[in-house]
């Protein structure tokens, strides 16, 4: 289907879980993955008579983010109650910020796939508590409710409807993800719901100034799904309009299994949330010095780090761009480079081998089976000539599958050291010369490309342990 004649308008609301030790309003651990309801305190469960107390760390993190996007930090911010009933919302209201959020305004500049850039404005970022989880497996014919996540701190980052394509929307989401991870505001772990996108999508005929009716597709938890959900929604809306229909303003869900969005049944009726100032909490009034302290201790931002990678490590700009995709990746790279002593080698291995595997197996870097220490050790051994690149790939496989742990130990145990003693390679070279008279003849006649074949034969016979450069030298001197 064609999108010709239509303009797409997209705004994103991104919920980012803040990586604090404790929850927003209680001293419960905010850690992920514990036994059901083991991290739900009286406050999180909304018991009668309990009261919230605000975690200072959430303000530090929200302010870091605000400062990084050039936003205004509200020195006075106010929490409000948003009222609705849902089993994963224990109090029957969510504590959020409506009229006086902590962060207002700001913008980010994204690089698109054609290398052009675009600036996207952020409307606001406010603090709020996360809800628990409904588990739909059959528990006596009912749903089970786990409230471990209830009360975990979030910032909801709301963009202006500035994006005009799926490409722009995904680039913006990636940029925000990069920022929050660099700032140590969030672990950004999408597989565990630490970074979730709601996409507001509408279309209008090119030239039209009024916005079309939008739909909101909620809780998209990967960039790939974001791309697909927006694409699906654009095409769906254009189809509806081209067939003379009307887009219904509604909340939708993206179903990755069917690769489609569908109406969310639980939100059919438009909600009246009856916001009002949370009477259990007072206005949060921050000293300018508190904000200034955060400003001076902001971690190195992605742009600055990229520039440093180009200057300090002599990396091509494109490689530096990839390696600064997230703070975890940039940290990983710097650790590998430090251990290996060869930044370009480290960069190549990370970009080609590591990211390729992670992508293939859909694993987040933070859960990578190969640690930065291991890859550093591995590349160090390539760098100092202990092993060949080919052997290194085999060792990488072993590390990936957890068959190897300590690289040096594995090399010794399996006898994978490169042969550097020419006395043990020379007999193999001589043997290959004897076994391949036709190729030797061709080489002598000036077809030097055949040398590759001969070297390959030696490598094969040595079990990959010969040093290719050294083998080349030996052939040249013998056949020269």
């Amino acid at each position: 289907m064609t999108r010709q004649g239509w303009e797409v308008v997209i705004g994103l609301e991104i919920h980012t879980q803040l990586n604090t030790a404790s929850k927003l309003f209680s001293g419960s651990s905010a850690q992920f993955g514990s036994a059901p309801n083991s991290q739900a305190s009286l406050v999180d469960l909304g018991f009668p008579g309990v009261l919230p107390v605000v975690n200072i760390a959430v303000f530090r993190k929200a302010i870091s983010f605000g400062l990084a996007i050039g936003a205004t930090i509200n020195r006075t911010s106010v929490f409000d109650r948003k009222n609705y009933f849902y089993p994963d919302l224990p109090k029957g209201y969510q504590i959020t910020q409506l009229d006086q959020p902590i962060v207002v305004g700001g913008e980010v500049t994204v690089t698109l796939s054609d290398d052009s850039t675009k600036t996207i404005r952020v409307t606001r970022a406010h603090l709020e508590e996360d809800a628990g989880k409904s588990l739909h497996e059959n528990y006596q014919g009912q749903s089970g409710i786990d409230l471990n996540r209830a009360g975990t701190p979030l910032i909801e980052i709301v963009s202006e409807p500035d994006m005009r394509s799926t490409d722009e929307a995904v680039a913006y989401a990636r940029k925000i993800h990069q920022l929050v991870t660099f700032l140590d505001v969030s672990d950004g772990d999408m597989s565990q719901g630490s970074f979730r996108c709601d996409a507001n999508v509408s279309v209008r005929p090119i030239g039209e100034t009024e916005l079309g009716t939008r739909t909101e597709t909620k809780n998209i938890n990967s960039f790939r799904f974001l791309e697909r959900a927006i694409d699906f929604e654009i095409d769906r809306q254009i189809e509806v309009l081209e067939n003379g229909g009307r887009v219904v303003q509604e909340t939708r869900l993206y179903d990755p299994d069917r690769d489609e969005t569908r109406t969310m049944r639980s939100k059919e009726t438009s909600m009246d949330y009856r916001y009002f100032p949370e009477p259990d909490l007072l206005p949060v009034v921050l000293e300018q010095a508190f904000i200034d302290d955060i400003a001076v201790s902001l971690p190195e931002l992605p742009e600055a780090r990229k520039t440093r990678f180009v200057t300090d490590y002599q990396l091509p700009e494109a490689d530096a761009q990839i390696l600064t995709g997230s703070r975890a990746l940039a940290d990983y790279f710097e650790a590998v480079a430090r251990i290996s002593g060869d930044a370009r080698l480290a960069s190549n291995w990370i970009r080609v081998e590591l990211l390729g595997r992670l992508n293939r197996d859909e694993i987040e870097l933070t859960h990578s089976p190969v640690t930065a220490e291991q890859l550093g050790q591995l590349t160090a051994r390539i760098q100092d000539g202990t092993i060949s690149g080919k052997i290194a790939k085999d060792i990488f496989d072993a590390l990936w599958l957890k068959r190897a742990d300590d690289v040096d130990h594995y090399i010794e145990e399996n006898g994978l050291r490169q042969m550097t003693d020419s006395s043990s390679i020379e007999p193999i070279v001589d043997q290959v010369i004897n076994d391949n008279p036709a190729q030797v003849e061709q080489y002598r006649a000036g077809k030097t490309r055949v040398l590759g074949f001969l070297v390959g034969q030696v490598m094969k016979a040595s079990g990959g342990k010969a040093n290719p450069r050294q083998v080349n030298e030996l052939f040249r001197s013998r056949l020269g």
């Binding site: 089993p87 014919g141 009912q142 749903s143 409710i145 007072l282 949060v284």
Partner: protein, 95 residues
């Protein structure tokens, strides 16, 4: 503001309360009286008056980010109507 059956039903739905058919008239009548009482506020000129949400104009204290709670789910779930595998149970949730 006139309170009628539609208003009462909307509000009951927001508050997740069920009104029996016989209660509707009484509810309309009583809510009307209460709203008339509330309407008396309109006689006061409040233009430019900052709303007061808390009686003492105090500001929020912030606590340090420290984990102070431990797993007490057995104790807390002792008063729960229905649980299974440490989960609270509710009728099937449809998204």
């Amino acid at each position: 503001m006139k309170v009628d059956e539609a208003v009462v039903n909307t509000v009951a739905n927001l508050a997740k309360l069920k009104l029996e058919a016989g209660d509707i008239d009484t509810t309309i009548e009583q809510m009307s009286r209460i709203l008339a009482l509330m309407e008396q506020m309109q006689a006061v000129d409040t233009s430019g008056v900052e709303p007061l949400a808390h009686p003492l104009d105090a500001v929020q204290r912030l606590r340090e980010d420290v984990v102070t709670e431990s797993d007490q789910h057995e104790k807390y779930q002792a008063v729960a109507p229905e649980t299974d595998s440490s989960l609270y149970l509710v009728p099937k949730v449809v998204e």
